[in-house]
């Protein structure tokens, strides 16, 4: 119980101290304070994890009720938290990667004037994210959900002096708000149906199968809309690439490792609900697949190092949703974890490059950096190999599990998912080779000045690289031995009562699928190596890209389409409302009232003439009337 309070309390304490006093504290104190607050949470969470693992009494996790938050009629919401197997996993990811990224930020943000603000926001984010995963009811989840949205907004627009960044932050906020509306509707429906928002009450009631499938579908669709917004799925994904306006550690922490996976967490948490609504499952699967493919193709033609990673994130999230749609919740969580490792690594690596290049993000301006930045190079290579599915790295296992689940579920989905994986390999290696191999192409910033980053930045890179390599150990496939395999699946089994154990396919089929995956990886690797290393090609500038490429460069014109079909009509409506309804009707009404009042007060003004005789006279008359009134009645 106390450990939950500590896990939550330390980051918020860090936020308060840094936020209130950070301005007068030295930078080193601010940075280390923020880092240790999260690191201490991580250590405590590790302790809880150990308890959960070893102590059978803890099977249902820890519960901690702070106080009753709302008590209206039959609507009870507690400010309560529970630490079970799923949330401890999320907590470990959040605080673990969070503390690494805090450490990294000490060096990365060192020059920034808003240093203390940055750490305060980061701590606040960690706090909100922990509330999201630790809350024991949907209301807490919603709290955290909104809280991380706010922090995301604050951090995307961290360099608010740049108007473009501010716009990006607003876009993220608005897009999320659309999703949040869905989530809220879902919560309303849940309350309407079950008179409670507590997981422990709602989920068993869903699982007992008494609710009609229409209701379940409606609820799950609403929740999925919320997940779409947070986890950047079609059609609400456009904010995530723009969110790269924020500082790189933010992209790594919020927009790759933790916040964007909140949607996946939500669905896994409500596994019973989604398991019982097949229509939603199908929708999730196809939406995820479409997102994955679309984002992967767009990533092919992006030249901003962070944009590539952003689209890659969207694409990988899509894959997670495919896994969920296929009913492979463990695979989704597995991929969530490994993706957190290698994507955080890649983002931090890109941050290291950006730092070295003095905020140059265009990969066409880079090249040949491996000579100058060995640590970044090696760790980035590991991250790239992990995401593209190099055998026996973490991404290989997690992605394969998803592909196998897809294969079992639907062959077409499988083929498309493999296509997405191929494209992933293509754009990742394209970026990797253009950045680190070939010749240096920047003329503004001399090659000699490029430098390796300080230890605060390289240590997180190395730790994450190790995690990216070994992340697969979490959930090894069966063919590597019965004893070591499927640890994560066993771990999460109590949380996922409905999910079936889907290992009916034979080992030979599984090996065939592995062969496909490895082949795809090799093709992608060889093609990009031939193109960008041997022939030393440089991605052409946006204007020269022909036909299909142009479509990709412009991100399928999705932003433009949204602008035309949603923003423009809305603006027109607003203009009509503004020019007629607001100024004529409402404005006329309001200013009419005010002008009438003005006239009345002009009349009244004469009464207050400062002459004491008037006042006295009125006082006497009032007194007489008052007494007379008493007398008569």
């Amino acid at each position: 119980m106390n450990s939950i309070a500590l896990i939550l309390g330390l980051p918020i304490a860090g936020f308060l101290i840094n936020g209130l006093f950070g301005k007068s504290l030295p930078k080193s104190v601010v940075g280390w304070l923020g880092t240790f607050a999260v690191l201490a949470s991580f250590v405590i969470a590790l302790g809880v994890f150990n308890d959960l693992r070893l102590n059978p009494d803890f099977q249902n996790g820890l519960n901690f009720k702070l106080y009753t938050f709302l008590n209206v009629g039959n609507f009870h919401v507690d400010f309560a938290f529970s630490l079970d197997r799923l949330s401890v996993m999320m907590t470990l990811i959040i605080t673990g990667i969070g503390s690494l990224i805090h450490l990294y930020s000490i060096a990365y943000m060192h020059e920034d004037e808003g240093f203390y603000k940055f750490f305060a926001y980061l701590n606040l984010f960690i706090f909100n994210m922990l509330i999201l995963v630790l809350g024991s009811n949907f209301m807490m989840l919603f709290f955290g959900w909104e809280g991380v949205g706010l922090c995301s907004y604050l951090l995307i627009g961290f360099w608010y002096k740049n108007a473009e960044y501010g716009k990006a932050a607003r876009k993220a906020f608005v897009m999320n708000r659309i999703g949040d509306l869905g989530l809220l509707m879902g919560l309303f429906l849940i309350f309407h149906q079950y008179q409670s928002l507590d997981y422990n009450i709602v989920l068993p009631k869903i699982a007992d199968g008494s609710t009609s499938v229409y209701m379940l579908t409606a609820i799950s669709m609403c929740l999925f809309v919320g997940a779409m917004g947070k986890s950047a799925q079609i059609p609400l994904y456009t904010w995530l690439p723009d969110a790269m306006a924020g500082p790189t550690p933010v992209s790594a922490l919020i927009h790759a490792a933790t916040m964007v996976t909140a949607g996946v967490y939500l669905i896994v948490r409500c596994e019973a609900l989604f398991y019982l609504s097949p229509i939603t499952n199908n929708v999730i699967m196809w939406v995820g697949l479409a997102t994955s493919l679309l984002a992967a193709f767009i990533g092919l033609k992006q030249n901003d190092i962070k944009k590539v990673l952003a689209y890659s994130t969207v694409s990988q999230l899509g894959l997670m949703f495919v896994a969920i749609g296929c009913g492979a919740y463990t695979a989704a969580m597995f991929h969530l974890a490994t993706h957190a490792f290698f994507k955080a690594l890649l983002f931090l690596g890109s941050g290291s490059v950006i730092h070295a290049m003095h905020h140059e993000q265009d990969i066409r301006q880079m090249g040949g950096l491996k000579a100058k930045m060995p640590i970044t190079y090696i760790t980035f290579l590991i991250g790239t190999l992990a995401i593209t599915g190099f055998p026996f790295l973490s991404g290989f296992f997690s992605k394969d599990e998803i592909l196998i689940a897809a294969f079992e579920h639907n062959k077409i989905v499988y083929i498309l998912a493999v296509l997405s994986a191929t494209v992933t390999g293509l754009y990742m290696f394209r970026m990797f080779f253009t950045t680190f191999h070939g010749t240096y192409r920047n003329h503004h910033h001399s090659f000699e000045k490029v430098h390796e980053s300080p230890w605060q930045m390289s240590v997180p890179l190395m730790v994450l690289a190790v995690l990216s390599v070994l992340g697969g150990l979490l959930n090894l496939p069966k063919y590597l031995g019965e004893g070591v395999s499927h640890k994560l699946a066993h771990w999460l089994a109590p949380i996922l009562p409905m999910a079936e154990n889907h290992s009916e396919i034979s080992h030979s089929t599984e090996f065939a699928l592995l062969g496909v995956a490895v082949t795809v990886f090799i093709i992608a690797f060889l093609y990009t190596r031939f193109k960008y290393v041997s022939r030393n090609a440089v991605p052409e500038s946006d204007e020269k890209t022909p036909y299909l490429g142009k479509l990709l460069v412009n991100k399928f014109y999705v932003d433009e389409i949204y602008d035309t079909i949603i923003v423009k009509p809305l603006e027109m409506c607003s203009q009509i409302v503004d020019s007629f309804v607001d100024s004529k009707i409402i404005g006329g009404f309001v200013s009419g009232i005010s002008s009438v009042l003005l006239k009345i007060s002009n009349l009244n003004k004469r009464i207050q003439n400062g002459n004491i005789e008037y006042y006295l006279t009125f006082m006497v008359i009032a007194l007489a009337l008052f007494l007379g009134f008493n007398l008569l009645f």
Binding site: G610, N611, E613, L616
Partner: protein, 108 residues
């Protein structure tokens, strides 16, 4: 002197003080000279004093409370007159007027 009161009752004194009080009040409302205003206030205070003394007599029982009140009202009236006149002198010094209808800076 006791024989007087056999035919007098408290209401006569009440009427008398009410009339005095209202005359004072009328003066406060009607006059503009600040000194006369102060005098009218003294008149009103005296009306109340008279009433206190009458009620003291009315209550009987060797009760001196009413007379004590008169005493304290006199104290306050003396202090009030001193300060009021000082203020008046000050106002006259600054404005060369004692007419209250010109003292309308409360308006602002």
């Amino acid at each position: 002197m006791l024989n007087i009161f056999q035919s007098l009752d408290i209401s006569h004194y009440i009427y008398l003080s009410c009339v005095l009080f209202c005359i004072g009040l009328f003066g406060v409302l009607f006059r503009r000279n600040a000194i006369v205003l102060l005098m009218c206030i003294e008149l009103m205070l005296n009306a109340v004093n008279l009433l206190f003394a009458a009620f003291s007599e009315y209550m009987g029982d060797k009760d001196a409370n009413g007379q004590m009140f008169v005493f304290f009202i006199m104290v306050v009236a003396a202090a009030e007159a001193a300060v009021g006149l000082a203020i008046l002198v000050m106002v006259y010094r600054n404005t060369r007027k004692t007419d209250v209808s010109f003292l309308d800076s409360l308006k602002d």
